[in-house]
């Protein structure tokens, strides 16, 4: 499933924000990013999927934080300091929701033209194929473009939850 907005890129190209997770660089549509924050202790949500780090207070809003390492079954790296929460503003079809993505660190922003986005061969990354919308090469460096909506689809979160409780 590919995000329609991303197919529909104009000639000016599109801006992506990249971050580091377990040594690899990933990028997401910058228009979905609201802000970046340093991670601080979140509040545990009982019986939630293990990749839900918890909920945090974003200026009075209570938002869930998704631990991307746990989301993709990567081991925790306790040597990491100053992990970053990317706060995303996602329209899930009915409303806008704020959600945090806990990643190792923030990298930079890129302008990428549509023609420079190549389809990804399967099993290219430690991340499941369904979350990847394509690859792009910048300065001889491979960038994996992620589908944010797919990553945070509430359907998937709810599904995980019922499995857990039952």
């Amino acid at each position: 499933m590919i995000d329609e907005e991303i197919i529909d890129i104009d000639e000016q190209g599109q801006q992506f924000l990249s971050f580091i997770l377990a040594g690899e660089e990933y990028a997401i549509d910058i228009l979905k990013v609201q802000e970046l924050r340093e991670w601080s202790q979140t509040t545990l949500v009982p019986n939630s999927p293990n990749y839900i780090d918890g909920v945090m207070n974003l200026r009075g809003q209570i938002i869930p934080v998704i631990n991307l390492r746990k989301r993709f079954n990567l081991p925790n790296d306790h040597t990491l300091n100053n992990r970053i929460v990317i706060v995303l503003n996602i329209n899930d079809g009915t409303r806008f929701r704020l959600m945090g993505l806990l990643v190792d660190s923030f990298s930079q922003t890129y302008d990428i033209n549509e023609k420079d986005i190549k389809p990804a061969p399967s099993k290219i990354s430690i991340i499941d194929d369904e979350f990847i919308i394509g690859l792009s090469t910048i300065d001889n460096k491979m960038l994996i473009l992620l589908d944010v909506n797919q990553l945070l689809s509430s359907k998937e979160l709810s599904l995980q939850k019922t499995n857990h409780v039952a």
Binding site: Q41, T42, T43, L44, V45, P46, N47, S48, G54, V55, M56, N57, R59, G60, Q61, I62, I63, P64, R97, L98, M99, S154, L157, S158, K161, V165, A166
Partner: protein, 690 residues
């Protein structure tokens, strides 16, 4: 010039529905024959007709026109106010409501009732009412050919209401010959001229033998959008210039008063308590604000409270460091605290509405149901100005309707029964609202037959809800009507027995954080007492600590908390534990296990016990530590995430961290999901003995 009228439709709908509600409550009082009430109803009907006309809701306009005609005849005294007409008008209101809803949704209203009621209206209108023997037109109005001087000065924005002066003048021409002088001195420079404004005014002279009311009718739709002076001038002269400008409102007021005086047989109006309810709607000046704006304001203030608490903490930390200005800062912060608190209360008050908004639907219901059941029932309100949070109010309507219906249906006896019992023929249902310790209490009191505990007990036994061995007080038995699976109604009728029992009423009220109880004296009546929190947005809670996580238990569910006494923990059948507390065995729930929390250092382990109550059943929650009691601003988890079992919501603590609020009912539900083998026995007994 085109204006997008559709932007005004929501306002029209709101106002119309409010107007209809007002018409309804006024109509129920009409039997007292107060002409002011008829006038009020007429005005409301008229504005609905006008509004519907503007938006092109033809069916609404047509229908309301008939209603208006009938009301007009009543108003002029050409028709007596009788019960049949009142009933017809009440039905008409229902039809107008249906028609407006259909128009709003852009569909044809296919309700047969509408057609029937319209036919009935037309039929009624054809029958000349001959009740007023000396029917009077306005006696002061001149008859015969005369000259009318009309000074018509539209307000700048009259055109925006869809009214055009040319139509009005054309309509006047139908009455007689019109000469007009147009005053165009108010037209501004072309550069500052707004094409949608009306700058002209007219001095019209009408030669006609018409009545004043004919002219009034033409101007009726614009009376609020213009300055209007209508004077009758003697046939011969031309004293138009002497007319002083005068706002129409008072002019029309006078006309109404004259109308009233000309009615010879207006009955004296008896003093009615319920009159105040309908009139208060007129008196309160208000503005219409979207609830989302109020909610945003609420949230903002909630943030302010949190920030203030944060600052307070910093302030007291500074004091510990002996900073020289710390004391001053603390003083300032104390002031800030009281100001924020007041601000918060004020904002909360915006959301508060008088409970009469719920009560107002009952007179009609009582009217309809008592007619259907052939009972005579008087409905009495008190404390209807007691205020309650809008969200609570929206949710309390249905449970209250159910309770009132129950009183009407099962409580109040038929007039014959009442007379044989030596009671007054008319039964009384009294709705009483008042404040009590942070709660609003709504009592539904009837003087009917009361609950029959013998029947209830028999029924509960049949249904296996109780056993013969159980010793129950009369109160206990009466409370059984709230148990799921209990309904005393012999046959299902469309009033009480709709398959929804009292258990649903109790559940709905408890989901709002409230309680419902019943007290009854056989033969003398029963009292259902509903207590509700003033608001759902703020909650009193107890902070607890479990496995280093902080949670909040709503104070309303807490019965007691205590240090755990190991000797009082008993294992039941080797799989779960109960706590012996005040000679009661209470099931023990471990928050740590239910929330799958990690184990913590031994010495913090579950030392305290919090006894909570849900649905009349007590539960013991194991916690590590009890902290503060505080007020919390309730926030939903599903705004950005999703609802979580066992969690009612979240709040932000003084230190900026999020704390989750425990939902007692959810926690109990969660317990059922835990598999038997996961439920290890808390073996305090052995430990205690050692």
């Amino acid at each position: 010039m085109s204006i997008d009228l559709s932007q005004f439709i929501p306002t029209f709908l709101d106002e119309s529905f409010e107007g209809l509600a007002l018409m309804e409550s006024s109509l129920l009082n009409i039997e007292q024959g107060d002409v002011d009430i008829i006038n009020a109803i007429f005005r409301t009907a008229h504005s609905i007709k006008g509004g519907a006309g503007t938006f092109g809701f033809v069916h609404v306009t047509d229908f309301t026109h008939e209603v208006e005609t009938l009301l007009d005849e009543m108003r002029d005294g050409r028709r007596d106010i009788n019960k049949d007409d009142t009933n017809l008008l009440l039905q008409s209101i229902d039809c107008i409501k249906l028609l407006i809803e259909a128009a709003r949704d852009g569909i044809e209203c296919d309700n047969l009732n509408v057609v029937n009621v319209k036919k009935a209206l037309e039929k009624t209108l054809k029958i000349e009412s001959i009740t007023n023997s000396n029917m009077v037109e306005n006696t002061i109005e001149p008859k015969g050919v005369g000259q009318w001087a009309i000074n018509f000065k539209p307000h700048l924005d009259m055109l925006k209401t869809g009214n055009d002066a040319i139509n009005i003048i054309n309509a006047l021409t139908d009455l007689g010959t019109v000469t007009q002088t147009i005053d165009h001195t108010n037209i501004p420079e072309l550069s500052s001229l707004n094409g949608e404004d009306c700058y002209l005014s007219w001095q019209l002279t009408l030669n006609s033998n018409c009545a004043r009311s004919d002219i009034d009718e033409i101007f009726e739709w614009v009376e609020d959008e213009c300055d209007l002076v209508i004077t009758f001038v003697e046939t011969s002269n031309n004293a138009i210039n002497n007319i002083t400008e005068q706002p129409t409102n008072s002019d029309i007021q006078t006309a109404t008063e004259i109308n009233n005086k000309s009615l010879p047989n207006v009955k004296a109006t008896p003093e009615i308590a319920t009159n105040n309810t309908s009139m208060s709607v007129f008196e309160s000046a208000s503005i219409r604000v979207g609830i989302d704006k109020v909610d945003t304001l609420m949230n903002r203030v909630g943030e302010l409270v949190i920030t203030q608490a944060m600052l307070k903490q910093i302030g007291s930390d500074l004091l510990n460091h002996d900073h020289q200005l710390a004391a001053k800062l603390i003083d300032g912060l104390a002031q800030l605290e009281s100001n924020t608190r007041e601000l918060q209360e004020d904002v909360m008050r915006i959301r508060m509405l008088p409970v009469s908004f719920v009560f107002n639907r009952f007179p009609r219901m009582v009217y309809d149901i008592s007619a259907k059941l052939n009972k005579k029932i008087e409905l009495k309100f008190s404390g209807e100005n007691t205020e309650i949070d809008k969200t609570v109010m929206e949710k309390i309507g249905d449970p209250l309707i159910h309770l009132v219906r129950n009183s009407l249906d099962h409580g109040i006896e038929t007039p014959q029964e009442r007379i044989t019992m030596g009671k007054p023929e008319t039964g009384l249902v009294h709705l009483k609202a008042y404040h009590q310790g942070g709660y609003i209490i709504i009592d539904i009191i009837d003087d009917g037959r009361g609950l029959n505990s013998a029947v209830i007990k028999q029924k509960a036994l049949e249904k296996g809800l109780i056993t013969n061995e159980q010793e129950l007080s009369e109160q206990d038995i009466n409370e059984l009507i709230f148990t799921p699976g209990f309904s005393t109604s012999q046959e299902i009728n469309d009033l009480s027995g709709r398959g929804v029992g009292m258990d649903v009423v109790r559940r709905n009220i408890e989901s709002l954080g409230g309680h419902v109880t019943v007290a009854s004296i056989s033969g003398q009546g029963s009292t259902f007492s509903v207590s509700l929190p003033l608001t759902l947005a703020i909650l009193d809670g107890q902070l607890i600590k479990v496995a280093n996580e902080t949670y909040i238990v709503p104070l309303i569910s807490i019965v007691e908390s205590a240090q755990i006494n190991n000797k009082q923990v008993k294992a039941v059948a080797g799989r779960s534990s109960v706590y012996l507390f005040r000679e009661e065995y209470i099931p023990i729930y471990s928050i740590k296990r239910l929330f799958s929390l990690p184990q913590t250092a031994e010495k913090y382990e579950e030392e305290m016990i919090v006894i909570v109550e849900n649905n009349g059943q007590k539960y013991a929650l194991l916690v590590d530590e009890l902290l503060d009691q505080q007020q919390f601003v309730l926030k939903n988890l599903d705004t950005n995430y999703m609802a979580v079992d066992g969690i009612a919501g979240a709040t932000i603590l003084g230190n900026g961290n999020v704390a989750l609020i425990i939902d007692i009912r959810g926690v109990i539900h969660l317990n059922q999901f835990i598999k038997d083998d996961e439920l290890d026995v808390v073996d305090y007994t052995a430990e205690g003995a050692a």
